[in-house]
């Protein structure tokens, strides 16, 4: 099977005052469709950077990156945005719901950018509200929700457009453990239903939900461990 993500010698450099600073060094990795992968590593290792490159928010790097067979390194910005829009959902540590929109409207955002017709949008949002058990919250604003509920909406927003891949950067970082667990269970279910997931976490417990843990340090991939309990 063709890998979902294939990277070869991917590098990212920041230039500050004439001196170069490598954030990612010769990253080569393959991630299969349906995989659940965890990036771990000390602070500043480059995890978030790698995640934004995978998510195609960041375009300034060198090397090769194939997403679902498409050579991302050869795409222009517009094509890259298309690819990102069609296939990837983001979950953020601090949820990043939009303050002045209701839960319902927040869920609608990704659909509106894919030009989904209004009727279909409403039914998709209703579906997801139902699936996540938050129908009662649909007219509330983010600041009327608890952190766990906000992240629930954050995840719902990421999956509403049925992406191939979910990218989550410390999704439980701002939650206490019970809430965190709830989110992780959700990820597991999504993954079992076929969605690939890449998460960044500092927590071994969260990492245990994934198939494979990739350790980063100073921009290098330093180790890979398969999770025996959860091999595909």
């Amino acid at each position: 099977m063709e890998p979902l993500i294939q990277m070869r010698n991917l590098e990212k450099v920041y230039e500050a005052g004439g001196s170069k600073f490598y954030v990612l060094r010769r990253i080569s990795l393959d991630i299969q469709p349906g995989e659940f992968v965890t990036f771990m590593g000390p602070s500043g290792a480059g995890k978030s950077t790698l995640l934004s490159i995978i998510g195609m928010l960041d375009g300034s790097w060198t090397g090769e990156y194939y997403f679902n067979g498409e050579p991302v390194h050869r795409l222009n910005v517009k094509k890259r945005n298309e690819l990102h829009k069609a296939n990837i959902g983001f979950v953020f540590q601090s949820y990043h719901l939009i303050d002045n929109l209701t839960v319902f409207e927040n869920l609608e955002i990704p659909l509106s950018y894919k030009n989904v017709p209004h009727k279909e949008r409403v039914s998709l949002v209703c579906d997801i509200l139902d699936r996540f058990n938050i129908v009662g919250k649909k007219d509330l604003f983010p600041n009327q929700l608890s952190g766990g509920q906000q992240q629930l909406v954050g995840v719902a927003r990421a999956v509403i457009q049925s992406p191939k891949l979910i990218l989550a950067d410390e999704p439980t970082g701002n939650l206490h453990s019970a809430q965190g667990e709830e989110i992780m269970e959700l990820f597991r279910k999504l993954n079992e239903a076929g969605t690939s997931i890449i998460q960044v976490t500092h927590s071994e417990r969260n990492a245990a939900y994934s198939h494979r843990v990739i350790q980063l340090k100073d921009g290098w991939v330093v180790s890979e461990t398969s999770n025996a309990a959860r091999v595909v």
Partner: protein, 804 residues
Amino acid sequence: MSSLWQDVRYGLRMLANKPTFTLVAVLTLALGIGATSAVFSVVDRILFRSLPYPHDEQLVAFGLFAPIEPREFMLAKDYVEWRSEQTPFESMTTFLPGGADCDLTEQNPVRLDCALVESTFLPTFGIQPILGRNFTKEEDRPHAARVALITYGLWRSRFAGNAGVVGQSISVDGQPTLVVGVLPADFEMPTLGKTDLVIPQALDEAALEGNGPEPVLRAFARLKPGVSIAQSFAALEPLYEKSLENVPPQFRKEVRLSVRSLRERQVADSKAASWILLGSVLAVLLVACMNVANLLLARTTGRQRELAVRAALGASPARLIRQNLTESLLLGTIGGTIGCWVAYSLLQLFESIAPEGIPRLQQAGLDTRVLLFTLGVSLVSGILFGLAPAMRKPAVELLTRQEASQTSRGLLRQILVASQIAVSVILLTGAGLLLHSLLKLQNVPLGMDAENVVTAQIPLAEYRYPDAKHQLAFFDELERRLKHMSGITAMGISDTLPPSGGTQATIYSRIEVAGRPPSAEGTGGMVGWRSVTPGYFMALGVRIIQGRGFQNADRGQNQNPIILSETFRKKLFPNEEPLGKSLRIGPEAPWREVVGIAADVRNNGLARPSDPEYYIPWKFDTEGYFRVAQVTLRTPMNPETVAKWLRQETASLDPSVPVTIETMTQRVRKLSDRPRFNAVLLTLFAGMGVVLAAIGLYGVVGFLVSERTREIGVRMALGASPRAILRMIMGNVARWTMAGALLGLVGSWYAVKLLESLLFEVSVRDPWPVLAALALLLVAAFLAAWVPARRAMRVDPIEALRYE
């Protein structure tokens, strides 16, 4: 006190720390305050400042209004009668309209403007000579020894401020005249005319008993304390009814009594314009204040955390408000100081645009009164724009929460910008209407060709040329000399010139056509007339559309031809062949034969409808007036050169005759000075409004983008393309721009009604100015929003989402 000083110092430091913010705020304020002060100094003298007479509110102008005169007047006989019988006035006085030229005939003779006034003139107006005394009743009689009061200006310039001049005899028009007093520096005639000498009018009251022509007088009075204008009007009515009996019955309907305040008489026709200019400039100031308020709001949003810390450390809300207000008052004062300079430059600009744009424009300046006003405006605007941001409560909860709240939607700021846009739409619409009207006015068909025409006004001194015979002799000689100058295509002499008012005039019903009964009812309106030389029509380019113009033979003894204007022809002979018809003006006048019809010429100024008009040859006529002549030269040559020749030729005949030379285009241009002044000023203010609104919009959109950076980043991560982001921002901008524009539309629907009296051939419901205003504003708003909105497209989602 020391804490106040601390506030000031801290405020200054804050301003110095943010140079761009401070610069924009100060310039915005300087513009707003400067423009306001400049306009205030112009309209102050019209609307607010007391006239230079004690208890000026008691002073009134009174008299009759009749078609023969644009202003109220009194006939001498009526006046004398009213004076002895009136009750509402403490005193009454008169002077002769227009005053008189008089020559100071000592060494270096000069022509002066003399006011001819009654002996009660100074006491009625409450004017005290600074030296000497007023002239007495006895000195105000015909054939009394001649006396004069001199104005302060003449006293300083001509007599070097020498107190000994009182009691000295000077020579006026060749006659010894005793100087009895010197007038105060702030003396002015109630009609605002230029005056150098005040001399007795010496009305021959005894002669009024007969049936001869009566002099026309301007009458003024001081109300008794406690008497209102309406009461005085009622008290005069019986006297007026009695005087009306002397008016031929068919004219009575067209006469009415008038009593109005002196200020009203002086500024009636510029009051509306003054209020409109003041209103517009205050609107600009408001826009400027809203702009600064907006800038301050943006800054306080950025300073939320600081304010929260201060509040947490125990600063009372009042203290925080005071700190904020200190800062805005500082801004206001700095803006006001620079505003003074702006005001000064604007005043110069106003004067250069239209020197006769508004009464007393030349006197307008930045005196203490205006400076105090400026200070007041600066402080008030400081409070105005400082209040909104100052009132914002510091959110202490900011400190406990993890991330700074960025929920402030800037609703207030958007309302401010929408209001700025609304005000700008109103200003622009007004300016558009005035400009359109001005354009129409400047393109009014004059009925003549004003290009390449040089005109000279030549007044003869009465004491040197006492009668028509001497006067005509002078001008005949001048005509003979000028006519053959090379380079002169045509040359005319006439008593008056179009297109300004001031033709000689008669009432229509006096005109009698041979073989028709005299007209029965009413005056029939006014008919203007001029006496002109044969060259007049050619020199001015007035077309003769039927028959012929005048010839030299028409100036012979028994020749009495007449030329009618087209309108007059239509009025007199609507369906008949006019040429060869006979008519006369009044029963004693000779019969005149119609020899030609001339095209209509604008003759009542540019805006007012023209009167019918006729021409008679420039030669002796009992009703003719030859003391002042207008010489008209059509020439392709440089006007400067022609002016020099003209002066030389006149001087070689009589060096004491002053010559005022203007090109015809200059004369015509002067007539639109007022509308131009109004239009240019309003356009200027509208322009300022638009620029300020655009700056405001720019600022708010920039702020909006930076405030929503995180949201924009999220949206991009969720799949928004940069275009979608731009659409979102511009859509937001469009919403309140449209709201503002709509508000402005509604506002201007009502506001333009105020302009009605200033418009010429343009309806306040003219759609073009509104549409143009909207278009211009929307383009400006779009551009102002586009630049900062594009920044939203370049938001880097990684950067925006970094600080989790």
